[in-house]
């Protein structure tokens, strides 16, 4: 790991100021991705601005059909939250399946969505539920937020403060985890809402998380696994690596999607 300056501001304004004056600064949330990346010298920020001291970034609230989760809320907190389990059980279950317990005790939702790892779980929930990403300067719709591999609509210096999830009628997330890392080789989030069905896929696409309009249309007409039984996904845009080739990932998308619809009930 290369050396860096460390700051732990107590307010969002101080964090933004610390980041602005840094030569090549980075925000530190739970560190479960950033620190391994820095250890591998794939990242070498001049400054780390630790968000752990900012109380307003933590916590979960449910009101008016919306679940809002502060950016520094840990996966373990979301997984164990009675409020999240009551409002969107699929979201609590997704958080409880990220990494392992020790990782869930450190990793945060804000860090996950800002990093936009193509195999991370949270982007599937954010896109699948049509959530809104809140930052220190604006609100960004999920459909506009994820722009490519490890790439988002966030501007330089912009800080994710919370993610707001509309409560769906029903939803489920099913993933085929890599047995070593527990990252999704393919994960599919399906949500049925008053305004239609959304299907979001993580782990599979070579451009990161994506929606499947053909599945959404079929499921809007008939919300059952049989509605997408013939729904072949093209392998052309799938990721291919030593864990699974593109054809296998395309196959898994269809299988995981049917399982998610069945699990949503």
């Amino acid at each position: 790991m290369q050396s860096f300056n460390y700051a732990k501001p107590a307010s969002l304004a101080d964090a933004a100021a610390a980041l602005a004056k840094a030569e090549d600064g980075t925000l530190l949330a739970g560190g479960q991705t950033l620190l391994p990346t820095m250890k591998a010298r794939l990242a070498a920020p001049s400054d780390l601005v630790d968000l752990a001291g900012i109380a307003e970034l933590k916590g979960i609230s449910v009101s008016g059909g919306t679940v809002t989760i502060g950016a520094m809320t840990r996966h373990a907190d979301v997984a164990g939250s009675a409020e999240v389990k009551g409002a969107i059980p699929a979201l609590a279950a997704l958080a409880g399946g990220i990494g392992d317990q020790a990782v869930r005790n450190r990793g945060t939702i804000g860090g996950s969505v800002a990093n936009n790892d193509p195999a991370a779980d949270y982007p599937a929930a954010v896109l699948g539920l049509g959530a809104t990403v809140r930052t220190n300067s604006r609100s960004i719709a999920a459909d506009d937020f994820f722009t490519g591999l490890f790439d988002t609509a966030l501007n330089a210096g912009e800080i994710v403060t919370a993610v707001s999830f509309p409560v769906p009628q029903k939803a489920a997330y099913v993933k085929f985890p890599n047995p070593a890392s527990r990252y999704a080789m393919v994960g599919v989030f399906v949500a049925k809402t008053a305004s239609g069905v959304r299907v979001a896929v993580t782990g599979a696409g070579n451009g990161g998380v994506f929606r499947v309009p053909a599945y959404e249309a079929a499921l809007a007409a008939n919300f059952s696994p049989s509605a997408i039984a013939d729904g072949v996904i093209s392998a052309a845009d799938m990721n291919s690596d030593l864990h699974a080739d593109a054809e296998y990932r395309a196959h898994l998308v269809a299988v995981m999607a049917r399982r998610a619809v069945a699990a949503a009930g």
Binding site: Y6, N105, R106
Partner: protein
Amino acid sequence: MPTVSMTVNGQTVSAEVDGRTLLVEFIREHLALTGTHVGCDTSQCGACVVHVNGEAAKSCTMLAVQANGASVTTIEGLSEGDDLHPMQAAFKDNHGLQCGFCTPGMIMSAVDLAKRNPNPTEAEIRKGLEGNICRCTGYHNIVKAVAQGAAGMRG
């Protein structure tokens, strides 16, 4: 260099460290508590698991400065006096180890699991230990040990 202060196994410790010092490096190299191991150094294997404010964390994937002000428990701080903690005793009774390299992290994760779920099923134990890798035992006796250790912690 930043100064870090924390409570480790009940003792207050304070030191000036390079900001990039990992918590596990602080524990092993500054405090000479070498029971916490470094296996993969990539947050996969769990040999470095300690408790930070009572919860399992991979100390190879945490900076010492992030633990500033925290209460940290390592494998050395688990037992009281010469009596083994019930989870340590259970690993001994059930031969839940062979080479022993993974054991400190395995036990710290198991104690964390049993605190959250005092009476775990075999499946819950296996899922709860997903972040701890053992290359010797095939896990069977570890799972038995965790069940007994959890029972011992229930008292």
